[in-house]
């Protein structure tokens, strides 16, 4: 029995360690976003926070597993849909695509140091410099 609890505990710990978290710069005046709002931000259609400050959107590359899990779990979209939206706005003049970062560590640093920034991470043990956003349905 104890072994079963230990295994279940390990699985829960492993799952929570891999859970994708949406994070922002600490000064962003939001604690939660709906899926629709998060989609609008990552589709680059919503460009200002409620206080009027510009939203700075950061992503990891489409092939990065963290990006793929973020797209499916948080945006309820697939990476190829995001690529198409960003290509459409980039090549028809409607706006700019998000800034692509190379690693989760760089994502932490850029979001923590850029006013109005939003991004996502998976290892949520070190969060003192970031604000975690709760995504609701």
């Amino acid at each position: 029995m104890n072994i079963k609890f230990a295994v279940a505990g390990f699985v829960l710990w492993a799952c929570s360690a891999l859970a994708t978290e949406v994070v922002t710069h600490p000064a962003v005046p939001m604690d939660q976003l709906t899926v629709t709002q998060l989609r609008a931000i990552y589709s680059m259609r919503q460009q200002n926070w409620p206080d009027g400050k510009a939203i700075r959107v950061f992503v990891l590359s489409a092939k990065n597993p963290i990006h793929q899990r973020f797209a499916k779990e948080k945006l309820q979209m697939f990476p190829y849909q995001l690529d198409r939206i960003w290509q459409k706005i980039t090549y028809s003049g409607l706006g700019a695509a998000p800034v692509v970062l190379t690693s989760e560590q760089q994502m932490r640093e850029m979001v923590a140091n850029t006013e109005g920034a939003i991004g996502y991470i998976e290892n949520s043990d070190e969060l003192s410099t970031l604000k975690v956003i709760h995504v609701t349905q």
Binding site: T90, G93, A96
Partner: protein
């Protein structure tokens, strides 16, 4: 609309773009972004006038573009793109200013946004209209001709004028509303792609007025859209001309939908187009007809980096004469009935070598010639077969 002014607008626009590109080195990276693409392919469509007239394999499948987006302030942005296109006889070959507009954010709060675009902007109303010249944004090298008729490409791709875009997050999902008003200045060559080389006069688009609504429901893999188009054209004959002075009205009602799954997706558009012609062929001539078309494209992710395409595209020149028989009879049997429809089944394969280097190949099996040039004057000499085929392959790179 005063066309000499439009021509001077184009010239000024090109000069502005060159000036902006030349001074871009002194701007910060987040204020100015630039991107581009280059692609080259091979295409063959024997027994038709679609690409060339000698039935040979053609390298006239080139798309090159470079664009920039410059944030002037929090509310103002300038965006421009120059492209070089070569599609053989499908549309006008050469370098052109694809878009150059000022994007003014009139209102923005957290759940809705309203933007005004002034200048030359892309058609944002159909699924692929905004990026139909950008090869890696299309599912197929040759888009479904029922909706994306290549002879109309230069008119449908964008306009000089004003446009509005509003997006709103609601309790039922995201709503996007687009409105535009403007016109396209037609060159002699563009006119002749539409009206045949026998047209010696001047064709003008007086205006094109469009509106569209897209709905992306919450918790759904679907996206739905509807769009309307109204446009008037006028033709002023030359001294020696096959045609007479005339006027045309084109009106479109369109519906579209897209479903996205993890390893496959479906996209579809339906169009009904009213074409009203007054005079033009001969003084006193009058014809009002309704064409209909639709396509469904399915893509399947066969394996990592590889997508397969199956596309069905159906077009009838007159919805009350789908076999084309009445159309043929109206010409005394001179024009075969297969000029009254065009149905196309396409199989394709796309492979991504890297994140921005792609090869696409496709084969079309086609019945009918209603979407081959010229829309107002069937080319009996070169479109001799009811059944014809086409293949194409294209290598594309973007940054």
């Amino acid at each position: 609309m005063n066309y000499p002014r439009l021509k001077s607008f184009m010239l000024r626009s090109k000069l502005c773009l060159i000036l902006l590109l030349s001074c871009s080195w002194q701007l910060q990276a987040d204020e100015l972004q630039w991107h581009g693409f280059i692609s080259q392919g091979l295409i063959q469509a024997p027994e038709t006038n679609f690409v060339n007239l000698d039935d040979s394999i053609s390298a006239e499948l080139t798309d090159v573009g470079v664009n920039m987006s410059w944030a002037l302030s929090e509310k103002l942005r300038l965006a421009g793109q120059v492209v070089y296109l070569d599609g053989g006889r499908r549309y006008t070959k050469g370098t052109r200013l694809d878009y150059l507009f000022l994007d003014w954010t009139l209102y923005s709060d957290f759940d809705w946004r309203l933007n005004l675009f002034i200048g030359r902007f892309k058609n944002q109303h159909w699924l692929y209209s905004a990026t139909r010249d950008v090869p890696f944004t299309r599912n197929a090298i040759v888009l479904p001709q029922s909706v994306y008729f290549d002879s109309f490409r230069d008119i449908a791709v964008g306009s000089d004028g004003l446009a509005l875009k509003a997006t709103r997050n609601t309790s039922i999902g995201e709503i996007e509303l687009n409105w535009s008003w403007g016109a396209t200045n037609l060159s002699k060559e563009q006119s002749q792609i539409l009206l045949s080389t026998q047209a010696q006069g001047n064709a003008d688009q007086d205006y094109v007025h469009q509106a569209s609504l897209f709905w992306r429901p919450d918790h759904s893999a679907w996206q739905w859209g509807v769009s309307l188009l109204d446009s008037d054209f006028s033709y002023k004959k030359a001294e020696l001309d096959l045609y007479s002075d005339g006027a045309m009205t084109v009106q479109r009602v369109m519906l579209n939908g897209r479903y996205a799954a993890e390893y496959w997706e479906l996209s579809s558009e339906w169009v009904q187009e009213r074409l009203d012609i007054s005079d033009f062929y001969v003084p006193g001539f009058k014809r009002n007809s309704f064409s209909q078309g639709w396509y469904v494209q399915g893509r399947y992710n066969l394996m990592p980096r590889t997508w397969a395409l199956l596309s069905v595209d159906i077009f009838d020149l007159d919805k009350d004469d789908r076999s084309g028989v009445k159309f043929s009879q109206s010409t005394g049997g001179m024009v075969p009935a297969y000029f009254g429809y065009q149905d196309d089944v396409t199989l394709g394969l796309t492979y991504d070598f890297t994140d921005n280097l792609r090869l696409t190949m496709e084969h079309h099996w086609v019945k009918g010639t209603a979407r081959l040039a010229y829309p107002v004057m069937p080319d009996l000499q070169h479109n001799k077969s009811e059944y014809w085929q086409m293949w194409a392959m294209q290598l594309m790179y973007w940054f």
